[in-house]
C-alpha cells in the first residue's frame, strides 16, 4: 500500500481504535499484572463480542442439526448456515456460494485439494511447485503425495529480502508441473507475494493454483476472481472468528471433477451397498455434522471485519508496521528478518544478545504476547540461518501505545542480556 493510499484510507473517516478495542472483551484483562498487549495475531486473533455472542446465541436459542430435520429449528439454522456460505462467497467475491466448502481450517482445505484434486492427476515424474516460505501445512500434504506417487516437490527460493523472484517461478514452471500452491501472505515474514502474476504464469502453462490465504484475509481485500485463483484456503480463527472452522474456495469446474475427501452422511445423493452417488459440491466435501456454531461465528466475524472495513484495517496495520519497524531498528543488536517491499503487519526478528525464547519470556513479563519459535516454517528458518525468530504481528485493535510498550520491553532485553 502506498503512503498515499494509507492517507486516503485513514482520512476517509477516522479510525477510532479505542472504540474497536471495546468490542474485544479479552483486551480488558491483565497478564502478569500488566494490561495485555496482544501481538500474536498471526497465530490466532482475539474475538469481538459479536462473534462470541453469535456462537452463544446459536447454542442457547437456535441449535439443532442442519440439513436433516423437518422441524422448525433445523430449518431455521440450516438457512442461517447456508446464508453464511453466501456471505463468504461475497467476502471473497466468488462467483457462487456453491464454490465455498466449509472445512476445519486452512490445513484441512489444503489437504482436501491435495487428496481429492491433485492426487488423482499425479504420476511419477510430475512436479508440484511451492515456495520456500510455506507454512508446514502447505509443505507436508504435498510431500505425502510425492511419496505416494513418485512426483517431485519443487521449491521457489526465497531472496534475502524475504521475497520471491518471478524469474524463478518462470524457470521452475515446466511441462511436468501439475499444480502450484503458494502462500498469499507469509506468516513468518509478512511478505505479500505477487500472487496474481504467479497465477498468470501458471495459467499460461495450464497449471491450476491454490493460494494459502490464512494470513491474507484478515489484512487485505481478497477477490478470487480478480486474482484468478483456482483454489483459495483460509481459517476462521485468524479472522477474529472461532477456531475449528475454515474455508476452501474452489472453481466449480474443478470441484465437480473432484472425488470426495471423506465419506459419510450429507455428502451423498443416494447410497446402496452396490453404489453411492455423490452429492454436488460443496456438500460432496462436507461429510458428517459440521462445525455448525463455528460457521455461525465465522459469519459474524466477516460481518465485523466488513463493518470496520478491510481497507481501513490494512491502513491502520500498515501504520503500526512502519511505526514499529522504525522503533525496532533503533534497538541495538536487533535484526528484522523479512524486509519485503510489500509487507503485511508481521515483524520477525532476532537479537544478538538473546534467543527468541528468552525475548518471549521477558516480553511476557510485561504482558506482551508474541510468538517465539519456528512458526511452523522450519525450512524457512534454515534458509535465514536462524534457529528461530521472535514475531510480532498486528491486528485491527493494536495501537501505537502498545508498540511503545513493546519497544521499552525490547530495550529491557538489551539491558538484561547486553
Amino acid at each position: 500500500m502506498s503512503s498515499m493510499e494509507i492517507m486516503n484510507a485513514l482520512t476517509a473517516g477516522s479510525y477510532d481504535v479505542e472504540r474497536l478495542r471495546a468490542d474485544f472483551p479479552i483486551l480488558q484483562r491483565e497478564v502478569n499484572g500488566r494490561p495485555l498487549v496482544y501481538f500474536d495475531n498471526a497465530a490466532s486473533a482475539q474475538k469481538p463480542r459479536s462473534v462470541i455472542e453469535a456462537v452463544q446465541q446459536c447454542y442457547a436459542h437456535e441449535y439443532s442439526n442442519i440439513h436433516r430435520g423437518v422441524h422448525f429449528l433445523s430449518g431455521q439454522l440450516t438457512a442461517r448456515y447456508e446464508a453464511v456460505r453466501e456471505r463468504v462467497a461475497r467476502f471473497l467475491n466468488a462467483p457462487s456460494a456453491k464454490e465455498i466448502v466449509f472445512t476445519r481450517g486452512t490445513t484441512e482445505s489444503i489437504n482436501l485439494v491435495a487428496h481429492s484434486f491433485v492426487r488423482p492427476r499425479l504420476k511419477a515424474g510430475d512436479e508440484i511447485l511451492i515456495t520456500g516460505m510455506e507454512q508446514h501445512s502447505n509443505i507436508v500434504p504435498w510431500q505425502l503425495l510425492c511419496d505416494e506417487t513418485g512426483a517431485t516437490l519443487r521449491v521457489v527460493p526465497v531472496q534475502d529480502s524475504g521475497e520471491i523472484d518471478l524469474e524463478d517461478v518462470r524457470r521452475l514452471l515446466n511441462e511436468r508441473t501439475r499444480f502450484v500452491s503458494v502462500v498469499h501472505v507469509s506468516n513468518a515474514l509478512g511478505t505479500i507475494n505477487p500472487v496474481r502474476q504467479i497465477i498468470a504464469e501458471a495459467h499460461a502453462r495450464g497449471v491450476p493454483v491454490l493460494l494459502d490465504g490464512a494470513q491474507a484475509v484478515p489484512h487485505l481485500r481478497v477477490d478470487v476472481q480478480e486474482l484468478g485463483a483456482d483454489f483459495y484456503a483460509f481459517s476462521g480463527h485468524k479472522l477474529y472468528g472461532p477456531s475449528g472452522i475454515g474455508v476452501l474456495y474452489g472453481k466449480m469446474e474443478y470441484l465437480q471433477q473432484m472425488r470426495p475427501y471423506q465419506g459419510g452422511g450429507d455428502m451423498i445423493r443416494s447410497v446402496s451397498f452396490e453404489r453411492t452417488e455423490y452429492a454436488e459440491p460443496p456438500q460432496r466435501f462436507e461429510a458428517g455434522t459440521p462445525n455448525i456454531a463455528g460457521v455461525i461465528g465465522l459469519g459474524a466475524a466477516i460481518d465485523y471485519v466488513e463493518s470496520v472495513g478491510l481497507e481501513r484495517i490494512a491502513a491502520h496495520e500498515h501504520d503500526l508496521l512502519l511505526y514499529a519497524t522504525a522503533g525496532m531498528m533503533e534497538v541495538p543488536g536487533l535484526r528484522i528478518i523479512g524486509t519485503a517491499r510489500d509487507k503485511a503487519g508481521v515483524i520477525s526478528f532476532v537479537m544478538e544478545q538473546a534467543h527468541p525464547h528468552d525475548i518471549g519470556t521477558i516480553l511476557d513479563q510485561d504482558g506482551i504476547a508474541i510468538r517465539a519459535g519456528q512458526h511452523c516454517a522450519q525450512p524457512l528458518m534454515q534458509r535465514f540461518g536462524v534457529p528461530a525468530t521472535a514475531r510480532v504481528s498486528f491486528a485491527l485493535y493494536n495501537t501505537r501505545d502498545e508498540v511503545d510498550v513493546l519497544l521499552q520491553s525490547l530495550h529491557k532485553v538489551v539491558r538484561l542480556f547486553g
Partner: protein
C-alpha cells in the same frame, strides 16, 4: 522484574555468554542429539565413560539462555561423577524444577536454575540437555522434549 532477575541470574547469563565444555568431544563413547521442536533449541551431548564413571563430557548446540546455561552447568557438574550419581542428580534437579523438592546442598550450582519454576513454559529448556545426556547414556541417538 523480580521473577525475571530470579530466572536470569548472573550465573546463568554468564554460562550463556561463555558456555563451559562447549566443544565436540573426540573419542566420545556416547553421544546424542537433543531437539525441542517447539522453539528450535538443539543440543549435542558427548560423553566419555570408563568404568561406570564420566571421565569427560561436553556439548554443542544452539538454544536459549536457559538451555545453554543448563547444558553448560550440567557438563561442569557431571565431570568425574559415577553414572549412579549422575542419575541421582538428574532426579533431584527434575524434582526441583517441577516444584516437587526444594533446593538443597547436593544440587550445587544447579540451584541457580530454580527460578525456572516460576515459568512453566521454560522447564523443558532446562531439562533438554539432561534428557539428551540420558539418551546418550542409553545409546539412543536422539532426544526430544515433545
Amino acid at each position: 522484574m523480580s521473577d525475571l532477575r530470579e530466572l536470569y541470574q548472573e550465573t546463568i547469563l554468564d554460562h550463556n555468554k561463555h558456555p563451559r565444555n562447549f566443544r565436540r568431544l573426540e573419542g566420545a563413547t556416547h553421544q546424542a542429539h537433543g531437539h525441542n521442536p517447539l522453539c528450535g533449541d538443539r543440543v549435542d551431548v558427548y560423553l566419555k565413560v570408563s568404568d561406570g564413571r564420566i571421565v569427560d563430557i561436553s556439548f554443542e548446540g544452539d538454544g536459549c539462555a536457559i538451555s545453554t546455561a543448563s547444558a553448560s552447568i550440567m557438563t561442569e557438574m557431571l565431570q568425574g561423577r559415577s553414572l549412579e550419581q549422575a542419575q541421582q542428580l538428574f532426579d533431584r534437579f527434575h524434582d526441583l524444577l517441577i516444584g516437587k523438592a526444594e533446593a538443597g546442598e547436593e544440587l550445587g550450582k544447579l540451584e541457580v536454575l530454580a527460578g525456572v519454576r516460576a515459568f512453566p513454559t521454560r522447564v523443558k529448556c532446562a531439562t533438554l540437555p539432561w534428557h539428551t545426556f540420558k539418551a546418550a547414556l542409553h545409546n539412543e541417538t536422539a532426544a526430544t522434549t515433545e
